[in-house]
Symmetry: C2
Subunit: 319 residues, 2 copies
């Protein structure tokens, strides 16, 4: 081997691989956003196209209830459709299995997939089984659509925008990552009622994912430490283990929250908060900071503003 991954993380690898991908006239948005956006010839709509995989031992364990494995596998894809303010249409399920596998477990994984699919009127239109000798791997491909020109991309954030996040962050791996509800309805409501400048779902942690919006939009951001909504699980974990990860750090860096992260013009911030409270009284919406004309990410607390060095979850990075 010339070169192994010890010197390269997931995002560097993706950047290298994405540098020279073939394209064609149908591509509205290619690699690098939550979904690819394709103009397939529908009069009023664009296609959304996404794939996402979960792997045993990485995203779930051998003793994770099978129905939750299936729920999570599909919900991750649906969360990416939500991030574009789209509607899901259909999915293909690829499952890699050891040569000997528990048929009942595989069927129950499908029960989890199918019941979530039925809830959102998503058709499961096939897929395949293949052999992956050491562990179960589930890769789901998803098609959706969005009105032409209405996909909420990562690249639209503008200086002075207010930054919002739904829900509470951190500690998802204690259980929420297996049960979360994709924010499909909320995202479509947002895009229908407000001019959303940029949006994505948080899968790798707030700090890391916000960087993707900043890079795509060529802007910076200042977060307000006191405004970050911290989950009960993250607070509890910090109380139980006072020498471990502080709750704010968990909220900034833990993966698998699958909440919506988006920006709107600052003048829309208060009307949005008011309208949201009426529409979704049970789901928190927090204004956590603002977009800046710089290209760095800072966080402000009572000691002042400082660079935010907390990276998001990165599959290949050593702990």
């Amino acid at each position: 081997m010339d070169c192994v991954s010890q010197t390269m993380n997931e995002f560097e690898l993706i950047a290298r691989l994405s540098a020279s991908l073939p394209t064609n006239a149908s591509v509205v948005v290619g690699a690098g956003d939550d979904c690819a956006v394709i103009d397939a010839g529908m009069p009023d709509r664009w296609l959304l196209f996404k794939t996402d995989a979960v792997v045993e031992g990485i995203h779930f364990d051998q003793d994770t209830p099978a129905e939750k494995v299936g729920h999570k596998a599909l919900a991750r894809c649906l969360s990416d459709i939500a991030a574009m303010a789209g509607a899901p249409t259909c999915a293909l399920v690829t499952i890699g299995l050891p040569r000997e596998f528990d048929v009942a477990r595989v069927e129950t994984i499908y029960t989890g997939i199918n019941s979530l699919a039925a809830k959102y009127q998503v058709a499961i239109v096939g897929g395949e089984t293949t052999t992956n000798p050491e562990r179960i791997l589930i890769s789901i491909s998803m098609l959706g659509s969005v009105a032409k020109g209405k996909a909420t991309l990562r690249s639209g954030a503008q200086p002075k925008d207010a930054i919002f996040v739904t829900g509470n962050l951190g500690g998802s791996l204690t259980g929420r990552h297996l049960e979360f509800e994709p924010r499909l309805e909320e995202a479509r409501w947002l895009a229908e009622h407000f001019a959303i400048h940029a949006m994505m779902d948080i899968s790798d942690g707030l700090a890391g994912d916000l960087r993707h919006i900043l890079q795509a939009s060529k802007v910076g951001a200042e977060l307000l430490a006191d405004a970050i909504p911290i989950s009960r699980e993250a607070k509890l974990a910090a109380r139980v283990n006072p020498t471990g990860k502080p709750a704010l750090v968990a909220a900034l860096s833990d993966g698998e929250d699958f909440e919506l992260l988006f920006t709107v013009a600052s003048r829309d911030a208060v009307p949005l908060l008011d309208a949201w409270k009426k529409q979704y009284p049970d789901l928190p919406l927090s204004c956590i900071g603002k977009i800046t004309g710089e290209t760095n990410l800072t966080i402000r607390d009572k000691l002042g503003a400082r660079a935010l060095g907390v990276h998001g979850y990165d599959h290949f990075q050593k702990p």
Copy 2:
């Protein structure tokens, strides 16, 4: 474990998992054909949607040239689009990698994918990298399209149809499986010029795959042993190892040929052969038998007709 796969092969598992999949009004053809067919609202066309995975140690080896690994991964999906007489549009590439991997090898796999994609004007619009600790796994999702009503399904074979196959069969694993050209152009030419009743690509072996057409169409078939086109590789292997697999058995049962298998009304058989020879003088086209009103598969040689007991390649079956 209640129940392991020793009693269940890949096709039985797929049949169980496919029994109760959620669907919706956009689905023209769901699980069970070469691609799913979706009416996404394009005025004149249907979408084709397909996913296919290759796994290190199963579909390629650690010492398989990386560019050929990429070529094969994408060509398999393109072959499924061909089987529907469709045109490919774009693809997403999911790659599962060990925590330490050879970056140059991964980049060269992408070179193989990208150069084949460029050849057929397929855009690579993203995908993802994930961790699969023990081996590389590549899953490609493909979108294509076909004129409404013109997708060539497995379910249209009719009694008395002539059965055709392109190319020569068997022995693909000696090298052809890494270099084959998807029959995209040939399939579209066929569908434009003749009423193709049923079509699929041969991935699991002629005998096994023909059974899929027979089951979907609720018909039977009689093959002519002398008409099966046997590859040079299969003939050579049988000569080198006279006690091994006879060349005809290899042509009937070896996987990964990726040739087109299709049926047309018997009256079209001779005009088709004539037109094909003019259009594709370098690619054999063979009439290998006929569809029958029974539901069994037989093969006729100089000793008479007998049941064809040769099954196609099945990933989970023990050798």
